[in-house]
Symmetry: C2
């Protein structure tokens, strides 16, 4: 499942910041890096992780690498979260129904 990569990529605050930065539009590696207190090399590695997760794409133009963010893995993540929450709600609803049914357990014995 690609959720693995999406979640682990977004689990790092630096990568979340890079991703949100790229939501603002195309940027070079250097442009992204200058906002962070870590080395250019480290930022480059973070970008590679985001690429592996499909959250960022790269377009090489000469010596510059132009990066763009891709929202689709985020959509997939949102779908998983909502699905999990929905499943949960249904379980809670079932529990409530069960408790309600147990509230008057004589309904079967007193027709």
């Amino acid at each position: 499942m690609s959720l693995d990569h999406t979640l682990s990529a977004l689990a790092d605050p630096t990568r979340r910041a890079i991703f949100q930065r790229l939501s603002g539009g195309e940027a070079r590696v250097t442009d992204v890096a200058e906002r962070f207190p870590i080395s250019l090399n480290s930022v480059s590695k973070h970008i590679r992780v985001l690429e592996r997760a499909g959250l960022v794409h790269r377009r090489v133009a000469g010596r510059e690498h132009l990066l763009t963010a891709d929202r689709r893995p985020l959509d997939e993540l949102a779908a998983w979260v909502e699905q999990t929450r929905a499943f949960w709600s249904s379980r809670l609803d079932a529990l409530e129904a069960l408790l309600a049914a147990e509230d008057d357990p004589e309904c079967k014995e007193q027709p």
Copy 2:
């Protein structure tokens, strides 16, 4: 930010499965473990990670540890995802507006 722990905890498929399993209601460590091909010890460690993220809580009853899932970190995650997507949409809207404005650049020169 607690998102760090939530995301990295959910980045592992075994832990997502444990979490979803616990959405079905309270269960013991052994109950959870028997559904997975890994050792009880490893499951215990996964549970500790989920606890650190606040996704799971533990209630000790005698020699049994009863586990329950907590949906609140998931709500927090959903909020972050939606916020990021909303920010993105606003950026895209702004971009579309910009492109639309550039579609008729003579509007200022031809009153």
